[in-house]
Assembly symmetry: C2
Homo-oligomer: 232 residues x 2
């Protein structure tokens, strides 16, 4: 790492995020030799994820350099609150004016959409929340990683690793991405085949929708409120 | 989470670890409803990974309850230093007397071996470090997740997600593991096929060994020193 990195990669964090949405990409990006990776928040106070993992930011919104890549993670209630966080949305808009890639993982795309950054774009989202992204006038892609011009958006949680490698290949070329894949021994072998709603089957999907009901109702309410603001 | 969780799962952290080795399993375990997940260190001061991610521990070694699962992540130079950290090794030995599962991800198995906890067992390791595990008199397994009685050890870095699901299936049953896999949308789609030395090919593997040479030399020295102590 030099004082003047070739790339500044900014990962936004916030209370209540799903941490693997951003720790996965962070691990991938940390092996890009020419990059400095920033963990961004409003201040340098610790930020606790929905799962209780507490991370220290490295850089504040105010002190953040112009980013080449900006990435927003998803989560549950914390994500819904962040969809209405004007300071966050303003920061995302401002950085997106010059960033080479504007990106998200999981329900992070709901936050990008709330900032008006996915209007007229295709984007991905956690399978349980795709319909809310559609309400925000975004064309929903169901691929693991959705690329539409300079928007690169991953599916749910673990998609952040595939996403990270895709971003590296776009930014630095395929050789860099393959080197990092080998370093991370990313040769996945899930012990079960239940990683998508199609594969998991109706029973498991319905159980999950039922147990997530309060969150999904809150998501619908927040999405409608955000959609109304975006139309204004 | 209740005051008396059914399971206490302890993830050890230390300076210079590879963070995804432990943030991956942490994300998986955080969805086990009956579990409390501890981030364990000697004190509650922030711990910074090799990649510059700073995490706050939740529980000290001294205050740690009897664990059902103990897990040790790997890393580079930080892992080699930890192989010689008597306070860490003592803690691992003590918890392992009663833990149901004694586990690691990546080069974390070198630390378990240094604590004498893999003697007579098969275990996995990051592909680049397998030969060092063998020097410590451990039978090396090349599967993504190696199970030998109550030792469950994952391969390099990203194997921690597969590993986490395997541990959950052993601890709570397959249905719990499948539910978590769906929640995490763990339906991997690596953009390249370079995630193992066999798939990546000789050129990439040799490049990586060359660039890791100082680390590999240090690993050999530390492993030999540890092996000598284990024989005594």
């Amino acid at each position: 790492m030099t004082n003047q990195p070739k790339y500044n990669i900014g990962l936004v964090i916030y209370p209540g995020m799903t941490h693997l949405d951003i720790t996965g990409p962070h691990q991938v990006f940390s092996f890009v030799r020419e990059a400095r990776v920033h963990m961004l928040w409003k201040n340098l106070e610790p930020v606790t994820s929905a799962e209780g993992l507490t991370i220290l930011p490295t850089t504040t919104f105010n002190e953040c350099p112009q980013l080449d890549v900006i990435c927003v993670p998803g989560g549950g209630m914390g994500t819904l609150e962040t969809m209405a966080d004007s300071e966050m949305l303003e920061f995302l808009k401002q950085q997106s004016e010059t960033a080479k890639y504007i990106t998200s993982v999981c329900t992070g795309s709901l936050i990008l959409a709330a900032a008006g950054l996915l209007k007229g774009y295709r984007a991905g989202c956690h399978w349980l929340f795709r319909e809310y992204l559609a309400i925000l006038d975004v064309e929903v892609g169901t691929e693991r990683v959705v690329i539409d011009r300079n928007r690169i958006t991953g599916g749910g949680v673990t998609a952040g690793i595939d996403f990270g490698l895709v971003v590296v290949s776009q930014l630095c070329g395929e050789d860099s991405a393959k080197r990092i894949q080998l370093m991370l021994e990313y040769n996945p072998a899930p012990p079960f085949d239940a990683g998508s709603p199609e594969k998991a089957g109706k029973v498991l999907v319905e159980q999950m929708k039922e147990s997530a009901k309060p969150l999904l109702e809150a998501a619908l309410a927040q999405t409608k409120a955000t959609a109304a603001l975006l139309v204004e």
